[in-house]
């Protein structure tokens, strides 16, 4: 079963997905309709004819102290398609955050391969990774990680500065995304003056302002109450519907349900991959 919504109208279909449904769906998506869906993974794959965005193979990461070597990731192999919404779950210390950091090119793996959009980035230099990152990846953190000394506007503007967008264009795009996140009226406030939900909206605005192909979210609702949390998840879902790939680390089964697929990690290895079935 899958459903999609146009305004307040909820349409539900059951049974094997039909081609005309798919066309309808794509039309809705392209027209910017609200869509919250739980869709058969394979069908979705077929619908969008998705190509691979992330492909990691036999990835290994160790943390060494003087005596102990801790394995954070143990020959992990995962693939994420373009346009997918993947949730990564698992107990504390299973390597979720390490994986997310490597996917975000904030950290490099010790062994194995990481293909991003068909390019091997596992052993890219710091500069190249930074370059690839700022053009392709947006981050959303549990603790928002806004810079206290900068206003809402300045926080969101930051990624554009680092990618060298001219200031007139920056103004336009920041206003656009703040409007979309319904936080434009707070543009001149400082982060401490906002509620948690508002701060996370700013953080998401900052993550998407550069129109990244991939959003990495690390427990985005962890510091929020359920109302604000759902709002954030709706935002992410909408972004995904518009074509942004999302990889989200979460402890919340509730949040995980927004995704297309859940990858469960234990001790740095994939335990199980759930398709979000109809």
């Amino acid at each position: 079963m899958y459903h999609f919504r146009t305004g307040s109208v909820l349409k539900t279909y059951s049974g094997q997905i039909q081609k005309h449904h798919i066309i309808l769906l794509i039309n809705y998506i392209q027209n910017g309709m609200h869509f919250s869906g739980k869709l058969n993974y394979r069908s979705f794959y077929q619908i969008k004819n998705l190509s691979t965005m992330i492909k990691i193979t036999d990835l290994e990461k160790y943390y060494r102290t003087e005596e102990v070597e801790t394995v954070a990731l143990n020959k992990l192999s995962i693939e994420v398609k373009k346009g997918e919404f993947v949730a990564i779950m698992g107990p504390s210390g299973c390597g979720k955050s390490t994986l997310l950091n490597i996917l975000g090119m904030l950290d490099d793996p010790d062994e194995g391969s990481y293909m991003f959009n068909g390019i091997e980035v596992a052993h890219f230099s710091e500069r190249k990774r930074a370059d690839l990152r700022k053009h392709n990846i947006g981050f959303v953190f549990q603790s928002f990680n806004l810079i206290d000394e900068l206003t809402v506007f300045e926080n969101v503007e930051l990624p554009l500065i680092y990618t060298g967008v001219p200031s007139a264009e920056r103004l336009k795009r920041v206003e656009e995304v703040l409007t979309k996140m319904q936080i434009i009226h707070r543009r001149n406030h400082y982060p401490q003056q906002l509620s948690g939900g508002q701060q996370q909206r700013v953080a998401i605005a900052r993550a998407v302002v550069n129109k990244p192909k991939l959003i990495l979210a690390d427990e985005p609702t962890g510091n929020l109450d359920s109302g604000n949390g759902n709002e954030v998840m709706d935002l992410l879902t909408e972004l995904n519907a518009q074509g942004t790939t999302i990889v989200m680390v979460t402890h919340s089964e509730h949040d995980a349900r927004y995704s297309d697929r859940i990858i469960r990690l234990l001790d740095g290895q994939t335990v199980i991959e759930n398709m979000m079935n109809l």
């Binding site: 975000g104 500069r127 700022k134 953190f141 810079i147 000394e149």
Partner: protein, 808 residues
């Protein structure tokens, strides 16, 4: 309670070792510099303050009024002391003292061998000198020791040098200038470091009068003054200075012939003024103006303040880390006053440490300072209670200056926010106190740097400016002045010129630029009156012009070496006479001292050359040949094999004057020595400016270290968002760069104004302060700041953002 404060303070220091180190190091250097400056100031203000009659001692000086305004000189006519005694019986104590620098002495050893000495700190003095001034005597009677002719008194060191042990020196014979035997009648304690009368050897004035040597043949001459001849009196308590100045003026009018009785009179200078008055010579040449004292003291204060600013900056920055402690203490019942006291106690401990370290630094650096400034500060300064007072005051001042503000801030934290750890470093928007303090620090540091650069450039200018004559590869060799030695001069010239490596030889009274000068008025073109101005007299043979490359703009040199055939004058002399065309001056007569033998035509006019140091303008110059007054041999040598050439010259000289002491000086070195005291100060300023920059950078380093810790998360976020290493380094550097530029904008005009007004105005030949000095100053400041900030900033930028963001 106090014990608890000190204990906590001590533990805090241990816990934050690097901050403590930066704090203590910065303060210690500041206090050390301040302490050394205090020692210098203390030393320079203590000159001759040990004489019992110091408040009543005055020097009688000559006050000249002429077209150039009023000038005062230390030199007086020879008969002044006698005249004062005759005219003012109420003066109980009058003493003449005459410096006889460079005179020669020899002693005969028991085994018949002879020891020869040349002494610069040698004087003639009347016995009254030692009743006026309170110098200690080790042997002999100070009332009578110098009363008789042919007596000599030696300092302890000098007696040891002459006779092995001063105890054996009394009654022994010292031979003066190889002809007069003097009996040792007294031994003086070595003069203290803080006197302007560093007398090593003194011969009775009676000896000078009896021998009536060349210089003193005219004991009735009230017109000529000799800079070496000074006169001191003790002014009776019932006589006022003003009144006596009037009396002295009247005396000059009575005693001197017209027109000198109105243009050159006498006046009083208090002993207490002598060391500070740069306009009137003293025997040592080492005056230290009150203005310089102020400048140096101000620099000392500045350095201390810069160090305190460091402290305030670091303490307030670090305050965030201690907000939790403050919160807990407040919750547990501590009040604001107690907390403030605790922080003050910590500051006090740091200041105390710094002061101890400062004393060690001062001890270690004192010998270098002594060498640099050519002064004698004692290493035992801690035995002086005044130094203890100074140190105590400094520690208290530093504690209050640096401790009060951080204590107020820290103790003022709201316990609730403090406990919630909500207090951040507060890179507050707008201008924070810390930014203002950094600006202040660099304002002072850069003002010092600009000032120092101006001084250094001016010194370079002094050393490099063309003087209008050739000074390279020329040596000056003095020779004995007696008439028998003079007979050998022509032979000596022939022998010297034959030597390989010797290019030219000339005799003269002085080199073109010289410290000792001789000047006089004269009559031009058969005028009935003397000129209103004096010309410098340079006596030289005809080879002098070629040797020094002096350029003629009209006429040429006089021809003969032996007889006086005519004058050569300089452009300035003609300008002062109002003669515009030098050709028209040729053939005009100049008569000197109304002496028919010194009445000759002008034969040549030379282009102006610098006669004195570049601190002074070029005076009128009158040149002629006069064998009897030549004092030195000028020798131009080939630049190759200098060593050999010098050895050859020495050998020839020694063969010619077997009883003399050979000495030589390179002219360029001698000219460089004109600026010795300025060079010394310049180096001192360089050190001060360096210290100021260093302390400021130390503070900057502490601040950046702290900021990096505070902003580590921000750096992580920014890197995640795509900031490059360069972006991050820029983030940290830009604020400091901006602050430094603001500081520069304030300091540059102030430094420019001050240096023009108070420094460069002292010199006739001076640089104009160009943009290069300012560019260099700002460029250097920014570079040094970048280097300071750069290391920490790059480390921060290279750190893995994963680690900084992990701490949730």
């Amino acid at each position: 309670m106090i014990k608890n404060y000190l204990k906590i303070a001590w533990r805090n220091l241990l816990r934050n070792k690097s901050y403590a180190a930066i704090n203590i190091a910065g303060l210690a250097i500041g206090i050390a510099a301040c302490l050394l400056i205090f020692l210098i100031v203390h030393f320079e203000t203590s000159f001759d303050d040990f004489h019992l009659k110091k408040d009543q001692i005055y020097r009688v000086i000559t006050v000249n009024s002429g077209p150039d305004g009023i000038t005062k000189e230390s030199g007086t006519p020879i008969p002044l002391a006698e005249g004062l005694r005759a005219d003012f019986p109420e003066l109980k104590e009058v003493a003449e003292i005459f410096r006889n620098g460079g005179s020669h002495y020899s002693v005969q050893n028991a085994n018949g061998s002879k020891k020869k000495f040349k002494e610069d700190d040698a004087y003639y003095a009347e016995p009254q000198f030692y009743s006026i001034f309170s110098f200690d005597w080790l042997a002999g009677d100070k009332e009578t020791a110098l009363a008789e002719p042919n007596t000599i008194v030696l300092s302890r060191d000098e007696a040891n040098k002459f006779f092995g042990d001063w105890h054996n020196a009394m009654g022994k014979i010292v031979r003066y200038e190889n002809k007069t035997d003097l009996k040792v009648t007294g031994i003086l304690q070595n003069s203290p470091a803080n006197t302007d009368f560093p007398i090593k050897l003194v011969v009775s004035c009676a000896t000078m009068r009896e021998k009536s040597s060349d210089f003193f043949r005219n004991l009735k001459d009230w017109v000529s003054t000799f800079s070496a001849n000074q006169c001191y009196i003790v002014l009776p308590e019932n006589v006022s200075v003003n009144q006596f100045n009037g009396d002295l003026k009247a005396m000059a009018q009575r005693r001197k012939p017209a027109p000198y009785n109105t243009t050159s009179v006498f006046g009083l200078q208090p002993l207490a003024d002598m060391h500070y008055n740069t306009a009137i010579d003293i025997f040592t040449g080492h005056t230290f103006s009150k203005q310089l004292l102020d400048v140096v003291s101000l620099i000392g204060l500045f350095l201390l303040v810069i160090a305190c600013v460091n402290f305030i900056n670091l303490a307030t920055a670090q305050a965030v880390n201690r907000s939790k402690e403050v919160g807990i203490r407040k919750v547990l019942g501590s009040n604001r006053k107690q907390l403030a006291l605790q922080f003050i106690a910590e500051t006090f401990i740091i200041a105390l440490f710094a002061a101890v370290l400062a004393v060690v630094i001062a001890q270690v650096t004192l010998p270098f300072l002594n060498q640099l400034l050519n002064i004698r500060l004692s290493n035992a300064f801690l035995s002086d209670p005044l130094v203890w007072l100074f140190l105590t005051a400094t520690v208290v001042l530093v504690t209050l200056l640096s401790g009060l503000y951080p204590a107020t801030v820290l103790s003022g934290f709201n316990p609730i926010t403090a406990l919630k750890n909500k207090i951040t470093a507060g890179r507050t928007r707008g201008i924070s106190l810390r930014q203002a303090l950094v600006v202040f620090q660099f304002f002072i540091a850069q003002a010092l740097v600009i000032g120092t650069l101006v001084v250094v450039y001016q010194m370079q200018y002094f050393h490099n400016k063309s003087l209008g004559f050739n000074k390279d590869a020329i040596i000056n060799v003095p020779f004995p002045g007696d008439s028998i030695s003079r007979l050998k001069l022509n032979t000596l010239r022939d022998e010297l010129i034959r030597q390989p490596g010797v290019r030219e030889v000339s005799y003269s009274s002085a080199s073109p630029s010289d410290i000792s000068n001789w000047d006089s008025d004269f009559k031009y073109d058969n005028a009935p009156q003397q000129t209103k101005f004096n010309a410098y007299l340079k006596w030289a043979d005809t080879g002098y012009f070629k040797l020094y490359g002096l350029k003629f703009i009209a006429g040429g040199p006089y021809k003969s070496n032996d007889s006086f055939t005519g004058w050569v004058v300089n452009q300035t002399l003609l300008a002062r006479l109002g003669v515009t065309d030098p050709e028209k001056a040729i053939g005009k007569y100049i008569k000197l001292w109304d002496d028919p033998h010194k009445n000759q035509q002008i034969l040549g006019v030379v282009k102006d050359f610098n006669v004195r140091s570049l601190k002074n303008a070029i005076p009128p110059v009158l040149m002629g040949s006069w064998k009897d007054v030549y004092q030195k041999i000028n020798i131009k040598i080939a630049p190759q094999n200098i060593h050999q050439t010098l050895a050859g010259i020495q050998k020839t000289w020694n063969n010619t004057f077997p009883d003399g002491i050979y000495e030589f000086q390179f002219l360029d070195k001698k000219i460089a020595d004109f600026y010795k005291s300025e060079d010394q100060l310049s180096q001192l300023y360089e050190i001060f400016a360096g210290i100021a920059i260093f302390i400021s950078c130390l503070g900057l380093y502490g601040l950046i270290s702290f900021m990096v810790v505070q902003r580590i998360k921000e750096v992580g976020i920014r890197k995640t968002l795509g900031a490059s290493v360069g972006n991050i380094v820029y983030l940290f550097s830009k604020e400091f760069t901006l602050l430094i530029i603001i500081a520069f904008a304030v300091s540059a005009p102030i430094a420019w104004f001050s240096m023009n007004k108070w420094f460069l105005q002292n010199y006739t030949y001076r640089i104009t302060i160009g943009p290069d000095i300012f560019l260099l100053a700002i460029f250097a400041s920014v570079c040094i700041a970048w280097l300071t900030v750069g290391y920490k900033a790059i480390r921060a930028a290279l750190a893995n953002p994963v680690i900084s963001l992990r701490s949730e």
